[in-house]
Structures are given as C-alpha cells and as structure tokens.
C-alpha cells in the first residue's frame, strides 16, 4: 500500500480544457462527484488501465468530467452515454469504457438507453450518480427526487399524484438477465465511502475480465441543489435517501462467469466480392439477333395479385435483359400503387440510358388477373402488346389498336403440377413472341433469381411450355 495518498495520475495534472482556475474542479463545495471521480481515478491507477480507458461524459453536472480524467474522452448528448459507450466499445473491445451519468441523464431522458445497454450485456461500467435532483440546470425535479422533496419544478414537494414515485434504477435493472453486477452505495461516512471504493473497483474488475455489464448507483450529495451545508447534505442521504433507495447488492453473477480475454475485431478485406455475393467475372453481354422494331426497348408493366410471382417475372426479364447487354431497371409495386392487394412491377430494357424507371405508358402489359387488365389496359401505347393469362381472365382486352396475346398460363402451370410457375409460362411466351431474349439466356439466368435451386428445372420446363404455346 502506497505510503502517500494523493491526487491520482489518472487525473490531468492541470485541467487544460477548463476555463478559470485549472487546478480545481468546477464542482460546488461538498459535491459527491469529486469524491467519486477520485475513487474511479485511483482504481484506474491501481489497475493500470488508464491508457486504454475511454470515459463518457454525460449532460448534467458531470458534463465536464473530461476536464479531469486523463483518459480518452467522449462528451455525449443527454442520456445517450450508454449508446455512445456501446459504439466505441464495439470498436475497441479491449478498451475499458466507463459511462458516467447522473439521474436526469440516466433515469429520465436516457431511460431506454441504459435499459437496453444493460440488457445487451455490454461489457461496460456505468457509474450512476443519484442525487435526487437536476444540479446543473439549477435544482429541478429528477426521476429520483423523493416524494415530498421540494425542487424548483416541484415547489410544493414531489406529489405522487402528479409526478409518480422515484425511479429505483438498480432494482429495475436487476430484473434483467444480462447485467453481471449492480450495487447501490452511498457517499456518506468513511465506512460507506469505503464501500463505494470497493464497488467501483469491483465493477471495473468485471470489465477488465470481460465478464459483462456492471452498474454502481452512488447516492451522492448535492448541497447546492438541496440548499444544505455539505455536512447536512451527507446526513440527509443517510436519513432520507437511504430509506427510499436501500443500499446493497442487487445483482452479482460475477463469480459464476469465467474471465476471458477481449477479442479484437479483425478487419477482413480479402475475397470481398465473394463474401458480398458479387460476381467476380468480367461481364460479357450475350450477342443475338435484333428483335422486330416494335418490340425493341420495351417498357413493361407486369401486374396481377400477390402470390402470382409478378415481381419474380419482372426480375427474370430484367436479369436476362442485363445479360443481353441492355440497360435495365425494375421497380416493384410500391407506395400508393400497393393498395388493393394487387402486385405490379415496372421493367425497362433499353439500348440507351433509361430515364424514368416508372412505366407510365407501357409498350407491353402483362396482366395476370382481371383487375390488372382493367386498370392498365388503357395505358398501353398504340401498337403495343398485351399478354394476359386467359385461364384467369374471361374477357379479352377491349383495345383494338394493340397486339393481344392470351395464354392459359395458370392452366399450363397446373398441368405441370405447380400453379406458382404460371409466371414462367408467361415469361416463355413473352420472349417467344418478341425475340427480345433468346431462350438459352433466360435458362442461364434463372438460377440467379430463383432461390430454391431444386425448382430451377421445373421453371425451365414452364418457360419452354410458354415458348411452345406461342410457337404453335
């Protein structure tokens, strides 16, 4: 044991960031923050972890904790220190991350953040200073303000009817499974202060050993906010706060967990294309004959009801079209058009840059149910093409200025044993009628967008049936 008890090395010798006197803190006389700072700094010295410690300064009186702690410092927005701590700890799992928070910060505005960080079992240490008041802003009511306690925003005393009861953070968090250690201590007499010292060290030790989340709630005096002398304030903690907030260990599973070393993140930069499912081969467009002029650069609208594979049909055309070297775009039904249980997508294949991906005047409409035909028939450009599933639509399109192709796609699919491949029958019919994509390209690209590979042969069969129907 050191023979001299003095200012820890984990404090800056001079508080450079602070304005005014750079050798004293900004805290009021008798404030508990300073004592807790000293106990934390001493532990950082003794455990030799100062070099890898990163401290979250909150919003509240300890907003300037970074003036003092000679560590990596991050000043956080109000209540978010546990989220910020999570971020930096995930980057440096080997670091020691401390979230230092007051009661307004942690239990009011940041209530969810502390619950969720605790529930994730973040391997961080939280020091929660509970002084039952908002000190920095001038003594307003805190979530931990005692019933009847007068503050500037509870001038007649906290009323249960209006403001509810004080929040018992330690008890609440102790109901979660992940936290390893939660204790409430009080900065009062020498004996209790020694308990705070031990709790601080234990909480940090748990993080050093990579065991998980710990929180030490420290009942702490705010003589200015309470309008008491420092000596009276300490007595008030004992007489009143400790009754509302009983001291003790609320959760401690540290003995059950084996210490483990922190695992550093490995930045993987090899085989990225493979890992990201990006084809790593140079792209080569498939050459083929030019389709008839009226089928070139098609703008397709494909519509039906959900479950018919409308989006997949569009995707098949886009995928194969890309392989042909076309510019392509595909947009699923989205936004207001989704209403009414219909599904549709817009597909463009073009020799030049595609402007609007939204197909307002389709050159080809594929309609797989009657509502779709009724809704979109009028949009097709004169001389365009309408393909419809004649097994589900009992009236042909009314338009006389367009080319019409009816195909009993659903019946053909049923005959093949799977209603859901009617979309591929249509795909076959479309490419056969327009010659825009050779069969082989479609067959080659099917595995790219059909997730269940065992279904690929059946889909090929459906495409062939569609081609066969049109060619008859």
């Amino acid at each position: 044991m050191a023979k001299i008890i003095r200012k820890s090395d984990s404090f800056y010798p001079i508080y450079e960031h602070k304005s005014g006197a750079k050798d004293v803190t900004h805290y009021c006389p008798g404030c508990g923050h300073g004592v807790l700072h000293k106990l934390i700094a001493e532990a950082l010295d003794d455990f030799q972890i100062r070099d890898r410690t990163i401290l979250m300064s909150p919003v509240g009186c300890s907003v300037f904790a970074y003036y003092y702690f000679r560590v990596g410092n991050i000043q956080c927005s109000h209540g978010r220190a546990p989220a910020v701590a999570t971020g930096i700890k995930r980057v440096f799992p080997e670091s020691i991350v401390i979230s230092y928070q007051g009661d307004g910060d942690l239990a009011a505005i940041g209530g969810n953040n502390i619950i969720q960080a605790a529930n994730r079992g973040e391997n961080i240490t939280v020091f929660f200073v509970n002084n039952a008041i908002y000190g920095m802003t001038g003594g307003q009511m805190a979530p931990t303000t005692l019933v009847g306690q007068k503050t500037t925003t509870s001038p007649r005393g906290r009323s249960v009817a209006n403001e509810g009861y004080p929040v018992a953070v330690s008890e609440m968090l102790a109901t979660l499974k992940a936290p390893v250690y939660i204790e409430r201590v009080a900065l009062t007499d020498a004996k209790n202060t020694n308990k705070v010292r031990h709790a601080v060290r234990k909480a940090l030790q748990i993080q050093i050993e990579n065991k998980g989340f710990s929180l030490v709630e420290v009942l702490s005096a705010c003589p200015s906010g309470w309008k008491m002398t420092p000596v009276q304030a300490k007595q008030w903690i004992t007489d009143y706060m400790c009754k509302q907030f009983p001291l003790g260990v609320f959760r401690d599973t540290s003995a059950e967990i084996e210490p483990s070393p922190a695992v550093k993140n490995e930045f993987i930069s090899h085989d990225l294309f493979k890992k990201l499912d990006i084809p790593d081969k140079p792209f080569r467009a498939v050459k083929s004959e030019t389709p008839p002029v009226n089928y070139q650069n098609p703008r397709l609208k494909i519509a039906g009801f959900g479950g018919q594979g409308i989006l997949l049909l569009g995707l098949g055309i886009a995928q194969a079209g890309m392989q042909m070297g076309y510019q392509v775009s595909w947009i699923p039904s989205y936004g207001p058009e989704m209403r009414g249980g219909t599904a549709n997508c817009h597909v463009n294949l073009s020799n030049k840059r595609i402007g609007s991906p939204v197909v307002s005047q389709p050159s080809t409409l594929i309609a797989m149910n009657l509502p779709s035909l009724e809704k979109f028939e009028c949009e097709v450009i004169p001389g365009g093409l309408i393909i419809y599933d004649s097994s589900l639509i009992n009236r042909p399109p009314a338009r006389k200025d367009v080319e019409v192709l009816g195909i009993p796609a659903t019946k053909i699919a049923d005959d093949l044993g799977n209603t859901r491949i009617a979309n591929m029958v249509i795909l076959g019919a479309y490419i056969a009628r327009t010659s825009i994509i050779p069969r082989q390209v479609v067959v080659d690209t099917l595995p790219v967008f059909i997730k269940r590979k065992n279904l690929v042969p059946l889909n090929v069969k459906a495409v062939d049936k569609g081609i066969e129907y049109v060619s008859q």
């Binding site: 960031h17 100062r50 070099d51 890898r52 990163i54 979250m56 300064s57 907003v63 970074y66 560590v71 990596g72 410092n73 991050i74 000043q75 956080c76 927005s77 978010r80 989220a83 910020v84 999570t86 971020g87 930096i88 995930r90 980057v91 440096f92 969810n112 953040n113 969720q116 930045f267 993987i268 930069s269 990225l272 294309f273 890992k275 990201l276 499912d277 990006i278 084809p279 790593d280 792209f283 995707l315 886009a318 995928q319 890309m322 392509v328 775009s329 595909w330 947009i331 989205y334 936004g335 207001p336 840059r353 595609i354 402007g355 609007s356 991906p357 939204v358 307002s360 005047q361 790219v448």
Partner: protein, 348 residues
C-alpha cells in the same frame, strides 16, 4: 468487374463495405429496412459489426461513439427516423465526426406514408438539427450511384471530418438496376484526432461543448472555413444544357423522369436540357448562375412543397424566371404529366 442486378438499398451496403465501412447501427423503417437487413447479413462476414439499436436516437449515438474510434461507420433510416436522429447529427457535426447517414425519404409530415417524397431536402441540406453546421449531401439517381456515392460519402466524410449524407427516395432505394462494383478501398486514412484506446488518448477529446462564447465562436468560424473548402466538391450532371432555352432541375428519381422529358421533347426539336445536382450541398449555385446568363427559363420539379427550388432561386438571383412543378404524398409524376405542364406554362 462484378456486374449485378441489385436493389439500390442493397448496393449501398455493398458499396459501404467496399469503402471499408465495418460498423452499422440502425433501426428498422420502411422504405430503408433493406439496408439494415443487408448490413445484418454481410457485416459479420467481413469482420464487421451490425447492431440493431433500441431507437433511431440510440443508433446515431452509437455511431457517434464508434466514429470516435476513427473507423468507418454508418446508419440508415427514412424521414421520420431522420427527424429523431437530428440531435445526434448536430453533435456529430459539432464534434467533426466523419459518419455516413443514409436517408431513404418517404412521405410526410408526421407518419405520412412509405411512398417516395423528397421533403427531407431542408432537414438534410439546411441542417435539421440545431446549430451552424453543414452536412455533405449526395443525391443518387440510380442503383449504380447508390454504390458509388456511398463510397464517395465515406471518402469525403474522412477528408473533411464531416458527416456525409446519402439522400435518396423510396424509388431509388427499391429499384433494381445493374451495378458494376468497383474494387475495394485498400487503405482507410489514419486519423490522428481519433481515439485508439491507447496512451495517446489522453490528448484527445471528442466533444461539441464549448462553454466560453469566444471559444465557441472560434470553433464555428473554423467550421465555416471548412465548409468553404468543401464547396469545391460540388457535383452535378448537365444533359443537353448547351443550347437549351429551358433547363429542368431535379434530383433523385425526379431527375430520371426529367431525363425522359428531355429525350421526348428533344426528339420534337425543342431546346430543352437538364441540370441534375448530384451534391445538394455543396449546391451547384455557380453552374446555375452561369446557365441563368444564357437560357430563358428554369423549371424545378420536386416531390415536395418546394425546397430545392429555394436554392435554385438564390442561385438564379432574379435573373430569369424559375418555374416550379411538384407532387406530394408519394406521387411521382410521369414524363407526360410534366410535358403537359411545360406546354401549358412555358412560353417560348
């Protein structure tokens, strides 16, 4: 190399990973959720971290913490979620943290709907949070640009120690197009200011509070100086502007529709062009002012109540008429609709 038919939202994640991003913190929201989903799938495969935060507010603050460590990190959301993140974005701007935020805009105000709008222009370009700050805002209009501009966003964010934004709409996020993925970024710049969990950290501070008015003013002046430098990063695309009488201005999915408008009207012999801002901040004010010298009219088309049009008017400075056409609620106008408007309102 590596051409793939892919959704814009997914292209963002792949582009980010190729740019060296290994941290994603997010919260689900339509129409941006595919970004979180793709990040959840791919990040663990490349030694990265994906964490679904408890809220939008938590996710931007996790990003704040992670970016303090000098790595490349991102989040993604959509309009109402971005509103929630604004305080954290202001902190990141104040603390000069290079982060990337993706906003796949949807309809508003309030819960609005999930259809594409562009009504987040002001909250991203003008700074929806408090304080005197600027975000670098890039507006892709294709799946390819979702990848490319995401990679650029990381580069610019690091170069200037400033948050960068990908501002896209629901259509650009949901649309699939071929993307040719570039090679991965080999080296991410070293950041001396960042925390490294080592002995040097005691000299560093990630912080946006400056209590002394003189010091805070100095900090603000420094930021403004930086923003002047970033102005050089302006990016835009001109399409048939050289001999145009009428120049259309729009970004994101609107610029795609306007491209069709130009193609259709050029075929009819009309002298019409398109200026597409790719960076919304810095804004191509100079180029628009130049055009104002020689053209007759501008027509700004937006999926909002008119936000981009204000910046265009500032750039034109009264020299030429700035006409405006808009849709709201998630409706994307067709080329024909815009052409009809032009024919009705623009006198040659």
């Amino acid at each position: 190399m590596g051409k793939q038919l892919i959704k814009g939202n997914e292209a963002i994640v792949k582009g980010a990973i190729l740019a060296g991003c290994r941290y994603f913190f997010g919260y689900p929201i339509t129409p941006a959720s595919e970004i979180a989903e793709a990040a959840a799938f791919y990040m663990p495969l490349v030694g990265g971290t994906f964490l679904q935060a408890e809220s939008e507010v938590a996710s931007i603050n996790m990003l704040y913490g992670a970016a303090s460590g000098g790595i490349r990190a991102m989040t993604a959301s959509s309009s109402p979620g971005i509103s929630l993140k604004q305080e954290g974005i202001s902190y990141c701007a104040g603390s000069e943290l290079p982060i990337v935020i993706v906003d796949i805009m949807r309809g508003g105000p309030g819960l609005g709907n999930i259809a594409p709008e562009q009504s987040d222009y002001n909250q991203m370009v003008k700074g929806g949070g408090h304080g005197n700050y600027k975000l670098i805002v890039l507006a892709p209009n294709s799946a390819q640009e979702m990848c490319d501009l995401t990679m650029l966003a990381f580069e610019l964010a690091d170069k200037y120690r400033n948050p960068a934004v990908i501002l896209a709409d629901g259509f650009i996020g949901q649309m699939m197009e071929p993307v040719e993925f570039p090679k991965a970024v080999e080296k991410i710049p070293e950041k001396e200011w960042a925390l490294h969990a080592d002995a040097d950290d005691e000299k560093k501070l990630i912080c946006s509070i400056q209590l002394d008015p003189d010091v805070l003013e100095k900090h603000n002046l420094k930021l403004q100086e930086k923003y002047k430098k970033i102005a050089a990063e302006v990016r835009f695309e001109e399409y048939y502007c050289d001999d145009a009488d009428l120049v259309l201005i729009g970004f994101g999915v609107v610029s795609r529709v306007l491209l069709s408008v130009v193609d259709i009207l050029r075929e009819k012999g009309q002298r019409i062009g398109l200026l597409r801002p790719i960076s919304l901040w810095p804004f191509p004010s100079f180029q628009i002012a130049q055009l104002a010298q020689k053209i007759k009219h501008f027509l700004v088309v937006e999926l909002s109540n008119g936000q981009l049009v204000d910046d265009v008017k500032l750039a034109v400075n009264g020299k030429k008429p700035v006409l405006f056409y808009n849709r709201m609620g998630g409706i994307v106008p067709s080329p024909e609709e815009i052409i009809a408007h032009i024919e009705k309102t623009v006198k040659a």
